[in-house]
């Protein structure tokens, strides 16, 4: 019994990481209806930026965030204004295929720069530290990851609903043309949304890199986890995305408990079951 409780608790904590993968996806879909196929590769790119920073400056991965977050945010703004804004329109093909091309470019550029060898960010003592809670050993890093996920989502929620930037996001999301007439600069707001999304991606990448080893090819899998969390939770609902991440994480750890080969499969099956039973996700945003 204790083993199962442990699996569930570990799954919930893992879900925090998946929610961080998903939050960026959810944000840019909400603001500009863009699905970024390269999202997973950008997470891995952030992890590699973290690696270079920690190795060059000899700092802890958390300190590297001070460098990686602004770099990824800047990259997001430039990417959006220089490339992705050109793909937005009624046709779904251009954004899809352009981000797909971007995914291949990032993957192979990382392969060229860092080789295919698995890498890991060295978090030091925090990686193995754990707390004893009621007979369960909770890792400090997973706990911290979950806490960061909750904080990031609360922050995004606050930005979205309580700041003037968020008002811009909601305005262009509701109707781009009218928002433009009201004096919002659509291209600039999209750029800021992507910058914010990639800042979250930077945090996700650093936490991923401390938790497991990574190589240039793992981006696709991270995209799929994030996407599943978004759909399970319900499109356009950030707290739902956290719930979706948790459900996915728990499904995976329970699957792994039954048979190690079942970990990923169980997560995908949970996603397909939700899709079959509740096509709009468990907590869909209510459209007015």
């Amino acid at each position: 019994m204790m083993e199962w409780t442990n699996a569930i608790v570990q799954g919930i904590l893992l879900g925090g990481l998946y929610a961080l993968f998903a939050a960026g996806l959810s944000l840019i879909f909400g603001v500009m209806r863009l699905v970024n196929i390269a999202h997973g590769d950008l997470i891995v790119l952030a992890a590699y930026f973290g690696l270079t920073t920690t190795v060059l400056l000899g700092v802890h991965p958390f300190v590297a965030l001070l460098f990686v977050v602004p770099v990824m945010a800047g990259l997001g703004y430039v990417l959006q204004r220089g490339l992705l804004n050109k793909t937005l329109g009624d046709d779904i093909l251009p954004p899809l295929l352009v981000t797909f091309g971007l995914s291949v470019i990032i993957q192979n550029a990382l392969l060229e720069g860092y080789t295919a060898d698995p890498q890991k960010l060295n978090g030091g003592a925090i990686e193995t530290a754990s707390l004893q809670v009621g007979g369960l050993a909770l890792g400090v890093l997973p706990l911290l990851t979950f806490g960061i996920a909750v904080a990031v989502i609360a922050l995004l929620q606050w930005v979205f609903y309580a700041t003037s930037l968020g008002r811009g996001f909601r305005a262009v999301s509701d109707n781009q043309d009218i928002a433009q007439i009201m004096g919002f600069n659509k291209s600039h707001i999209f750029g800021l949304a992507m910058a914010l999304a990639l800042a979250v991606t930077a945090i996700a990448g650093i936490l991923l890199g401390m938790r497991t080893s990574f190589d240039p090819s793992v981006g696709g899998g991270r995209l799929i986890f994030g996407f599943e969390a978004v759909i399970i939770g319900g499109l356009g609902n950030l707290w739902g995305t956290l719930a979706g991440g948790v459900i996915l994480g728990v499904a995976q750890t329970i699957g792994a408990k039954i048979d190690p080969g079942w970990q990923l499969l169980a997560g995908h099956i949970a996603f397909l079951v939700v899709l079959a039973v509740r096509p709009n996700g468990l907590f869909p945003r209510i459209d007015h």
């Binding site: 699905v35 196929i37 093909l93 954004p95 797909f100 993957q107 192979n108 499109l235 995908h268 397909l272």
Partner: protein, 340 residues
Amino acid sequence: MNARIVTRATRASRVAMIIGLLALIVLAAAPWWAGRADLRLMGEIFLYLSLACLWNLMAGYAGLVSVGQQAFVGFGGYMLFALTIFGGVHPIVAILIGGLLAAVLSVPIAILIFRLRGAYFAIGTWVVAEVFRLSFAQASALGGGSGSSLPVGVVKSLSESRSGREALSYWLALGAAVVVIGAVYAFLRTRRGLALTAIRDSEIAASGLGIDIWRTKLEVYVVTSAFTAIVGGLIFLQKLRISPDAAFSVNDWTAFVIFIVVIGGIGTLEGPIIGTLLFFALRETLADYGTIYLIALGAVAIVVMLKAPKGVWGLIRDRYDLELFPLSYRVRVDSNDKGA
């Protein structure tokens, strides 16, 4: 008054048809004039051409942009291995049964993932492909994660000699390409094909004309899945070895195919043919550069999508009003009837 005749064929399309038939005869004779390596390369080209035409039918016409077609390529490959090893079925029969099974399997999959719109549909297909990959990696009878080879007995049942087998494998690939292009062309000329073309041009207008969009898309998805599985069977008949990572590779069976179609010209029949030729020309000259070549390929696809979204064939067609496969209707003014 000039007589106005509505026609599909043009002089260019008739010339293209004759050249195409001549080329087909020359290509069919390739086992007698081409070396072993060239034969293998050409076989690969035809299989990629088939995959590109199928993906184009789905994405370019039905608007079903899938990044998970590797699910059916791998499924077809695995069915070849499973049915020949455990069922004792002849390889070619096994490949055809694989196609049939893929069609059956694609119906519940379609019902599930058609609930996702646009780009989310794309990632949904990828999840399905991952489920396939992980499931076959669990199948220990087929070698689990490390895969298995086609037994010598099965390979010999195709032909006793190695050259005979290579020729047969080549002809099957050529045949697959001809059947796929022919079937897509014939389909697009029918009433249903017209409905599909209408969906391509505007879904809202098409549904206003009474076209059942969901059903048309389902038909396209099922037929494409079946053919993709058959092509997958042929791919792994050529390779003689299968593993989950090779069979369900998103790069090999989807990324390259997408680049072929986008660069050639999406939503046209000529596009995938031009794209395949360009792709292999690039690959054969630049493959030594490895990752740089793939980066260049991704960049070319992005530039084409932004600057010339109809691809190379779209540029040619707009400039010269050419159409090699006569699909659209034209009004021809017959000047012989002058004064009548």
